[in-house]
Amino acid sequence: MLKVENLHASVGDKMILKGINLEVKAGEVHAIMGPNGSGKSTLASVLAGNEKFTVTEGSVEFEGENLLDLNIEERSRRGLFLGFQYPVEIPGVTMANFMKLAVNEQRKARGLEPLTAAEYLRMMKEKSAIVELDSKLTSRAVNEGFSGGEKKKNEIFQMAMLEPKLSILDETDSGLDIDALRIVATGVTRLKTKENATVVITHYQRLLDYIVPDYVHVLYKGRIIYTGDKSLALKLEKEGYDWLINDYKEE
């Protein structure tokens, strides 16, 4: 589904990604961990097409297409979803309106008719239940005045609405209390199918108790320096990153 090869990206003069290799197949869950500043969020942004970053080298293939040729919304419409670490507030624009536009763009890209108002409302109701999102929030402006937990639930709600092929969740667990974490993580798990894939970017292993990864990658200084299975996350939780970083330095 996603094939990243030797990806280099920079912001201004500063090289942040220095040769990422990553392959994600349908049905898989990947976790990306790593210390602060290792480039985790940059990787997510670059894959989504944030133009703040310049790709200087390497390739990204998504469903057989060159992802780097596409702009942000084209990537979105092809089924790539980014759950933001800091979802932005859009004053005055209601969630309901925003999502209706987004869902219908998604449907248009898939050759489907726009939803009728009734269908759309039914869908909203059904999907908001997945993350126990207070239905009142959908009549409020996008993320405005939402608590940290509500914002993150809202991201997963949108993921449910848009039914992406590949979801990249950037620190979706940060700032969540344990209940919200459970709700968000269960939501992600419930949306999991054999046809889609998830990349979870996280600091903590606790999220991975709910979302069980097939692979755990450790990102450090712009490279994936180690890949393991779910037991790696536990080891990192206990022992930190030092043992890996030291190994890497010796290399």
């Binding site: 919304e73 419409r77 859009i90 005055g92 624009v93 925003f98 999502m99 536009l101 763009e105």
Partner: protein
Amino acid sequence: MEKDTKDIIQELESGDYKYGFVTDIETETIGRGLSEDVIRLISAKKGEPEWMLERRLKAYRHWLTLEHPHWAHLDIPEIDFQDVIYYAAPKQKKALGSMDEVDPELKRTFDKLGIPLEEQMALAGVAVDAVMDSVSVKTTFRDTLAEKGIIFCSISEAIKEHPELIKKYLGSVVSYADNFYAALNAAVFSDGSFCYIPKGVRCPMELSTYFRINAEGTGQFERTLIVADEGSYVSYLEGCTAPRRDENQLHAAVVEIVVEKDADVKYSTVQNWYPGDKEGKGGIYNFVTKRGICREGAHLSWTQVETGSAITWKYPSCILQGDNSSGEFYSVAMTNNYQQADTGTKMIHLGRNTRSRIVSKGISAGRSQNAYRGLVRVAKGADNARNYSQCDSLLIGDKCGAHTFPVIDSQNPSAVLEHEATTSKISEDQLFYCNQRGLSTEDAVGLIVNGYAREVLAKLPMEFAVEAQKLLSLSLEGSVG
């Protein structure tokens, strides 16, 4: 993203004005120019009584002593007032008895404009007075309204049929001596709407006036007078369009509203006069004086969505004369290409315990200039006055200007007045977020702009709100992407 936004801005600038057609209808006009004879001619054409003519002449003589105002943040080219046609009327064969007798070409015009002049109106529940060039074409629903004692007719008819009301109220809120354009209007106004809501009556439907400039070289000087008697309520809508022409046309209207004790008036405008082309050629000069006076316990609310006109100069105001009266002003002013707008409000607190609220949202794109100008004055005797003002500006592109010129004048120490203003642009983060959810940048900008204006749009009656939303996105066309 930066580049993308610029492209979009350019695309938006190419947006088209869809009301730019001209109606091919025989028009009766008088020659260009202004003199006492022209005023006598206008008055005679309307079959006005002598006292009305005297009023016009008095205003004209005063106007001659005035200079064109320069204080606004506007670059107004010299206007030759002798090169304007002050009266133009679509020719009608005879007096109108029913809707069927209206010239079919005229009806088609109003159909194109989407004005529900006929049966659809019953469904929409809106009574319409349509003014083309200088005369009122047709006032619908008059009978239904008459049952409640509501008078809704053209001002020309009112002068003839309700002289006692006109004598009492016309010019009582905006005197001919008020300003340059108020004087000009008082001298040459040709038509407009008159509305009277009797004591204690709640007007059962929205009343609406639709203004249309059609004839070439004409100025439009309509005059609207609304009187809401004690304890009554009315919601009034005003819409305007004009054909696309290379010349600039002058529109200088006066709207007066008298809100008697405990009455409540809501006045909504969607102003979409032809704004000129993307090089700034042509377009309407829109110099309008709108003011209402509130007696004890009365309430007046102005809502405006201003997207049209080459130049807008307009300050719908409230004189809060009575104790416990209140005024509101909600405005979205959007300028694109070479448009200029200097708009805002005055809230004059005279009575005790008076309240006012101002919410202004300016949106500038292209090479346009958009200014908010406001005055909040609390007079000496106006104990416990309160005002809250919020004036925001949104800039789209780096060639436009957004300005805020509020004046707060407190002469009573019990006043509590607050003014806040912010200036922002659409953030890259917001665009990125919307793009990531699959929205094109153009849709995202439309969405964000409508969201930004939502607080004001929400104040419009439903049908108007939908129209205004479309208009905002349309006016943005060619400015972002």
